[in-house]
Symmetry: D2
Subunit: 345 residues, 4 copies
């Protein structure tokens, strides 16, 4: 039986190239087409020498595929995707263009009028641990942002179990690859190295995703989420520290710490990529992988829940989760091609 | 007139060597004696080639000085300091041994019985921006921890102005030099690089300092502070993100953001080392210096105050502040020898 | 058919843990036993959370295996290995203990009397690109050092083709993981970050391996090799710049540059892990992989050959090459379990 | 007496901003004017918050100054400088535009026709340790490149003493700030971090400076220099390893190592910024300073001289040396404002 034909739109950014790395090792699909703008016409292995095993030329237009990943910037991604969806190609959109359910949010947060609001309802927000069933039958998967992935996985079980108040602070630290491969002063080595900074203090674009998904767990009460991202001097990796007041009487058992931990262990019991760890996690333990390490802990002095969440922003935070979604779309075992451990140290 | 004779106990750690760097450039004092244990008998400039201009041998016992800095570990520091204070040497203790007012806290947080509880009342907590007058007449200055310095400077004006509730979250990110020069697995380059981790989730030793000093601003209500430190892959530098619910009706004027900012500008109006900046600060902008950059901002969606605070953990967070305290003790202009800008990039 | 049973002696160093990472993904063998000293009795996945998929406890003594990797320090490794070889276990020694053919060299370079000189002749120096046939029938493979691997692969084709004089300078830059996971001041993040230093200027222990193997290509003339290693602030990766005077009349064709390049392309034509690249290589393009990128170029002004060689010091420079040797020993396709591209960026 | 009025053309690059940092602390001059293109009209302290003590607006045209530093890119710098020199302003050119004596070299290496060849003879190559007297009376000082500074200081004493053959290899490792503050893919954090690469293998523009200055020491024989620069993941700092065959009979005394070392100690005996150190130097020991650490050593096995040289590429390799040249031009003590030790760790 021939393998499923897969393509990547805009392979030349960090998400695109990470998709190529994962897909070229995937045993059940074949990467047959990759596109790029400035690099069109060049060999993929020339632009990215580590991909020497991939025998493809970067094209200006996607070839004939059954599944397409779009790693285009937001707004442009939607335009590329619309005709593909119309043709019956299944699409996994790595951009933000189909993550939010309300079209108006795109005007507010991204500054453009959504070109395909009718598709927003069909698109499925692609965190398998929350929406596995819908993903399986989707035509269009909106692959989540890296920050939302780390925060939603950290907070969803507690919110759903009703053990926290909807007063949430999410303090995230990200590697620089999250800012992409475009040329910006703030991404230069000499500016980032030996530095840490908070940014988007007036509201980061990933906030509405968090409100939408975590909010769903709270039911009809919109949580008050403060989300502050930080840039730290590492290439890959993300750690989110999530804080919320506990409702202790809602926690089962007498031992708050154990009760909380059991909720997480239970919620993620069958999840192959979520590890509820027993010591504060290190981002490095997920580097290059699709794993998420979670560490829920109770601050006994203040009655707050703290959940530390670590992922690779390009792994579970982007390309890894994209391939996980692809596996679900194709009816493959969800872990196919994704079980490589982190590269450590 | 001869210069004041100054010494450093335990010069071979990162705080000690940073004190040496600052003191050898100070125009009004003379560094005359430095001690160390394993390196005793060696030239300081041999152990630390960047200090080639200092003509001193590391001694096992402090020579005759008028002012002594102790950069010993906690518990040991108190023992070194007690006889010096008795002899009338003014001491600036870089350890935690005289920071807390209640002797019992040492048992609880540091696991030892304080050997000189009678000195705790005399010791002054050395943040000049809060306790300048007491420092001027002190015999013993307890130089604050790096995390508390960053957090107290960030929160004190708001707490004192009564504009925040005492429900505080402090999420700090530190360079690795804060862990000192001792050999630990967690300080190895290969473990720290490309990593970020939260630690001391069950309570960091710097928390009681924060509660003591920020608590003083709240009056008789003990604030509920959650403090989570993180280690990030940089050598020097610290950023603290501090979160607290605003009490909007206490903020003067109609514009919350402006009202809050004005409180900070006013409180630090005459402070030479505190810059209330108008964009999110970078730790790098304080590297090697004694400056603290503060950025207070209101999260309009949630009604929370966020204050971002950047220092060099070895500068304003340790040695720089120590020299600032020394200047006050000696009646010198407080900025003497301390105005060098950060080394950038 | 049951899989070959494989073990790792001293899994807790960086080479050991990298072997575990590669072996747990290998489709044809089963990792059944790992040992460690201080960590004996602990779960491997507890000590190294990224290896959560490996269900093994660290033992104090190796279990029943058909192939053993020894990642012990030199001198200790030989002692562990001797009884295994006697029992017919095939051994791949990651230490230096069987790399040099003359027992006297161990006294000179490593300061110990070799405990099993009779095994030195049987041991095969494990660079498959040079000694594939002997490895296939070996009982004991001496896995090469990281520096020698990078330098020998860079210089062997030119030396063998007779196009360079035996006047060689090898200037290597290594990531810090090469110094291992032991606690040393020089491996601390704060000492290494923002630093570069040359070390072992009076003769590094990897020099005799280079002389032995490169010397073999020159025939009976011992090459004069100056080898200077440098430590640079990265965790993994190695770049060697190798310099030697060309003998232009020995280079085929009229175009020196092309003639030299053709020699390398031809020599490594069928090698799956050696890429003769067409632009200066980046260490990063090999990170986490078993690939070696080589770039031979002629300095036309001075008539010198320059060869730039990039590997991952823990990949082709250690564990990756070890697994490649294991594949050869087992008669498996040499690339089995080793084709994962580098993790980039 | 009023202070000398000094200006910086193009303050917004890394060399310009480092000049500003040093000049604002200099006790004998006043920084009165700084220019920049894109940032003209903005406060210097807004663009560079660490320079909060400098009260200047970035201008589009230089104000009235007695001494000007030009930190413009090559070719543009010459055009800015020519009218200033004509007006009698003393100029220190941080670009390459007046470093080479032969106008034709600009066509060959930089690809432009030199607009002021008549000034080349007047310009003095600004390494004070070689050309102090000429600098003192110069109208125009050509501040050397960072690589040439590190290599010339390393090799000049040996070349002048006649103890080495003119067969030289210079292998340099530089921090990324040397590539400037312009936006390039190769300067992005995610590309540089965990990487090392050699570049300009077909000839770097700094080579002719080395040939010119080191060649002068050899007399009428042009040395054959191979120079390969590498980019390593650090912001500031540079280490050059220089290799040349010794002529042992020219080395005084019986002990080659001591004889070589004595030549260096003697040559730099009175130099305040050159330290001939007794252990392999670390780039970090010069970070932020104007010092150069040199370590000459003999490779006894091969009869080669190795000299390791460490500087801060923005310090002694650019701005620091520029200020040193300014001090000479002004007849000030050469160390004025330049004795701050490196920031360590």
């Amino acid at each position: 039986m021939s393998k499923t034909r897969v393509g990547i739109i805009n392979v030349t950014g960090y998400v695109g190239v990470e998709l190529a790395r994962l897909l070229c090792q995937h045993p059940e699909i074949e990467l047959v087409s990759v596109t790029g703008r400035s690099a069109a016409g060049q060999r993929l292995s020339h632009v990215f020498p580590h991909l020497s095993s991939i025998n493809l030329t970067i094209e200006s237009k996607l070839g004939d595929v059954e599944i397409a990943f779009s790693a285009m910037p937001h707004e442009e991604s939607a335009k590329e995707i619309m005709p593909l969806v119309d043709c019956g190609v299944k699409v996994i959109d790595m951009s933000a263009d189909f993550r939010l359910k309300e079209a108006g949010e795109y005007q507010r947060w991204y500054g453009f009028t959504h070109p395909a609001p009718q598709l927003l309802a069909q698109a499925v927000y692609g965190i398998p641990e929350l929406h596995r069933a819908e993903i399986a039958s989707a035509r269009l998967v909106a692959n989540p942002g890296c920050y939302p992935t780390s925060a939603i996985l950290a907070l969803y079980p507690a919110a759903r179990a009703g053990i926290i108040q909807p007063e949430i602070i999410i303090d995230s630290k990200s590697g620089v690859s999250g800012a992409g491969r475009t040329l910006k002063l703030g991404s230069l080595f000499s500016e980032v190295n030996e530095d840490v900074t908070a940014y988007s203090l007036d509201g980061h674009r990933h906030l509405p995703e968090m409100v939408q998904e975590i909010g769903a767990a709270f039911g009809n009460e919109t949580p008050k989420i403060t989300f502050i991202p930080h840039l730290i001097p590492m290439t890959r990796g993300m750690l989110s520290a999530c804080y919320a007041p506990l409702i202790p009487e809602k926690v089962p058992g007498k031992d708050l710490q154990k009760g909380v931990r059991d909720i997480y262990l239970e919620y993620y019991r069958n999840e192959p990529f979520i590890k509820v760890v027993d010591a504060p996690p290190h981002a490095k333990h997920t580097l290059g992988s699709n794993f998420c390490h979670l560490y829920p802990v109770v601050d006994q002095r203040t009655g707050r829940l703290i959940v530390i969440s670590c992922i690779d922003n390009l792994g579970k935070g982007a390309a890894g989760q994209g391939v996980q979604n692809m596996n679900i779309l194709l009816g493959l075992p969800e872990t196919t091609g994704l079980l490589a451990p982190a590269v450590f140290p």
